[in-house]
Symmetry: C2
Subunit: 115 residues, 2 copies
DNA sequence: CTTTCATATGAGCAACTGTTCATATGTATT
DNA sequence: AATACATATGAACAGTTGCTCATATGAAAG
C-alpha cells in the first residue's frame, strides 16, 4: 500500500474528481512543451507570416528583419512541435503551417488578452 | 522616408498581406506572455484542479504534493495573467478560474498533441 | 496583544532560453 | 572539382524561470 497523503483541506470527493480528469505525467509534459513554443513573440510572428503564405527561410528572415540563423533556430523549434512542415525545392526550403490548431490556439489567446 | 528593406525573396504583395494581419508589437508581447503562463506543467495542473472546484492555496498544494510557497508563486503568475480570480473567506483565500478561454486553449493544445 | 493558521513575497540558485557568431551541410551551376 | 547560394547547427553568453528557504503580511481566536 502506498502511503496516503492527509488531505486536511480538500474533500475526498474532490480529490477523486480531480484525479479522474488530470492528464497523465507525459501528457502534461507534452502540453507544457507545446505552449512554451507559443510563448515567444518571434515564433508567433513566424506563424502569422505562414498564415498568409508558404515561405522560404530567408524570406521569413527578410520580412521579420531578423537573421537567417535566428529564424532557422526557431523554425527547428516549430518543426519539433509539429506546428510547421517543410518541403525542399532545389536549394530552397519552404515552410508552411501543419494544421489548424495553430490558428485556433492563437485566436483564443488573442480573445483572452483583448478583454 | 524610412529606408525600405530590399525583400529579394518575398513578393511585395505578400509583404502587404502579412503587414495587414500581423498584430502590433504590444499585442504580440502580451500574446507571448499569455502562452508562457500555459508553458509550465505545474500551472497547467493548477488549472485542471480549478476545473473541478474552487480551492484554497493549501488545498491545491496538498492535492499536487507541492509546497505552499511554490503554489502561491505560481498562483501569482496565473493571477497576473487574469486566468484565475480569488476571494477571501476569513483566513482562507479561494482561487477559481476566471473565464472559459482557459478550457478552450488547453483543449486545443490537447487535441494537437494527441494526433 | 499574543498566538495561530493561511497566504504572500524577496533573495538565491540551478536549469533553461533566444540570439549571435562561426562553421557545416546540401544543392545547383559552371 | 570549385564556387555560390540556402539552410542548419554547435558553442557561448546574457537574460529568464521555477523552486526552496526564510520571513513578512493578514485575519481570527484566545
Amino acid at each position: 500500500m502506498e502511503p496516503q497523503p492527509a488531505y486536511n483541506h480538500v474533500h475526498q470527493e474532490t480529490v477523486q474528481r480531480v484525479n479522474e480528469i488530470m492528464p497523465g505525467e507525459e501528457e502534461l509534459f507534452d502540453l507544457a512543451e507545446l505552449f512554451k513554443v507559443f510563448g515567444d513573440s518571434t515564433r508567433i510572428r513566424i506563424l502569422y507570416v505562414l498564415f498568409e503564405s508558404d515561405m522560404c527561410v530567408c524570406g521569413i528572415a527578410e520580412l521579420l528583419g531578423m537573421t537567417q540563423s535566428a529564424i532557422s533556430h526557431q523554425l527547428a523549434v516549430l518543426k519539433k512541435a509539429k506546428l510547421v512542415r517543410y518541403r525542399r525545392e532545389g536549394k530552397t526550403i519552404f515552410y508552411s503551417l501543419s494544421d489548424d490548431h495553430v490558428r485556433t490556439i492563437l485566436d483564443q489567446g488573442m480573445e483572452h488578452i483583448e478583454e
